[in-house]
Symmetry: C2
Subunit: 349 residues, 2 copies
């Protein structure tokens, strides 16, 4: 563990100057203070004194709405605070973006604010700080993201494998055989995990894995518009979606084309966003218990702060059956609104 | 949630008799008491009053030594108690075997002793209680074992995938290309997980996966005797073992045959048992932090008791490099003691 002396030697300055920098004293230059903090992070220095003074955590949020109970991040943050605050931690919520990350290294940001650890929501593999997480010594828990080989970083999320297995089993019980997947591009940890979960679930139930049953696209509505008719043209009778937002977009798309849900195609989402109970038809989906994710985030952080090197926690997934799934169509899907294919041309294996 | 009334109706007896049975009153027959407890378990009844009266957990242990610090289970149990007892839980250690499990259903055992939850070490997929865990409503955490689809049962263990990836990466850096696996039979969850981890790690580093590089056998010494020469005969220069005990047996076997470790073959264990530092040569192995496993076991149980449905927690694995691994032999392995193969016949790819 690096000491104040190590930082002083490295920078060729006195220990008292280092101490001033670490404790935000006013009588050193901003430039020097920054240099001290950056060197402290580089050497893995831990400010024990500030740790004892103040129990402070932050939740870093990117690309995720969280202000109202209907928004995805709300209950995650609530669950985390429900565990953390009774134990005397203050929890700050800090929205971040790529620009912000480029402006300041993660370690310097954390040290500047005296945060001992962070819970991180919404980052993708492309985010600038992800690189720093590979070597950071500050305990952090990532939601739906994973950093290899760093024992101070843990991951929490919902078990995609269990979720898609439940969905595929249910669809098979309804007579579906050709089941498709529509997802975002595989540039995030969680989308890769869901893609693999889909492949494994299909394999497990002995169903055909066919690249023509899979559509990956960045823009939600564009890819729905492209892939829903394409998959139906391949004879797919049920589609899993990587997220509810895509599944809801597909319901709208089907309505526009006169494709009936679930008579012509069954649709399954992932997340159980509050709005999914109120779409028409209401959405069958895989529930992530978001308050539980927040609670687990705190469990994982506590364990890292106690030097118990949790790598990952996976929560159980639950299949919520609503009206967007039904028996597989038997020969006459009736896709009267679908321009590119005519009804009756979908042989059901 | 079932009530005392539900049990009374089901058995056609009065509520006060049910209550007596649930609270171990002396003035009802043993037979009736058992029937009441079994019905309570069947209906999913939770004895809230006893829960409040007494905070009691048990650790069920099968096939695992734990009495002295050198034994595998010791630190797991210690870690668990270190978390649980300060929070006011009493923790009983209960050694069990197949016979014991056949004698009493798990739910009845738990209810009879007033345990609210259990931490379970050492059971395999063949154990009689495993079947009951599929539907049990009593929170339980299994070490190195997994029950699908039951949100009151969680799993904790060390990340086999990460462990074998670290080991294979290290062996590749030493020039090894043909890397073998010797393991027990794939009838336990954890051995299946390690087998898959081996396959994935080999794939990840672009190494040949060949069934002739793999030896699976029940009896430790018998399978070592059979598979070590067989794998070396295939040109394998490094062997991963599913457990330290097998790796240590292989070191002895190599010594008997005049095969030098690590000059002729590198050996990597899994677990980091205390004795592995003192074998000759000392064993390179993948460490499971056993105290951390115990602590995580309690984290997971706490979360289940708070209705946060953790499915699994995986701890980080660490590669501990000692003397049983070295550079890949370059053409003349010098297996003078190996009867079935002559030296020099191992082409190194």
């Amino acid at each position: 563990m690096a000491t104040i002396n190590d930082i002083a030697v490295k920078l060729g300055i006195s220990k008292s100057t280092v101490s001033k920098g670490l404790n935000n004293a006013r009588d050193i230059s901003e430039e020097m203070r920054k240099k001290i903090l950056e060197t402290a992070v580089e050497l893995g220095y831990v400010n024990k004194r500030r740790q004892k003074e103040r129990k402070a955590l932050c939740i870093l949020v990117e690309n995720m709405e969280f202000h109202t109970p209907n928004q995805f991040g709300h209950d995650i943050i609530l669950g985390f605070k429900q565990m953390a605050e009774p134990e005397g931690w203050t929890v700050d919520i800090v929205p971040i973006d790529m620009e912000f990350q480029r402006g300041i290294p993660y370690g310097v940001f954390m040290m500047e604010h005296g945060y001992q650890a962070s819970f991180i929501l919404g980052l993708t593999l492309l985010d600038p700080w992800m690189n720093e997480f590979r070597t950071s010594r500050i305990p952090a828990v990532l939601y739906d993201n994973y950093v290899k080989g760093n024992p101070t970083i843990a991951s929490v999320g919902c078990d995609s494998q269990e979720g898609f297995e439940l969905a595929v089993r249910y669809l098979v019980s309804l007579g579906h055989k050709k089941i498709g997947l529509i997802s975002g591009p595989l540039e995030s940890y969680i989308l890769k995990a869901r893609y693999n979960a889909y492949i494994n679930a299909m394999e497990k139930y002995g169903l055909e894995i066919n690249e023509n049953y899979i559509g990956l696209g960045y823009f939600v509505n564009d890819s729905t518009r492209k892939y829903v008719p394409k998959l139906l043209g391949e004879g797919v009778t049920a589609i899993l979606f990587s997220h509810d937002v895509r599944a809801i977009s597909a319901i709208t798309e089907c309505e526009d084309r006169g494709i009936r849900v679930p008579q012509d195609v069954s649709i399954v989402g992932f997340d159980d966003l509050p709005m999914t109970a109120h779409t028409l038809p209401s959405l069958t989906t895989i529930r992530q218990d978001r308050a539980a994710i927040g609670k687990c985030g705190f469990y994982a952080l506590s364990s890292l702060l106690n030097e118990v090197a949790i790598g990952s926690i996976l929560l159980r997934a639950t299949l919520i059956i609503r009206d967007s799934t039904g028996p597989a169509p038997s020969g006459m899907p009736g896709l009267s609104g679908s321009g590119s294919v005519s009804p009756g041309c979908f042989p059901i294996a």
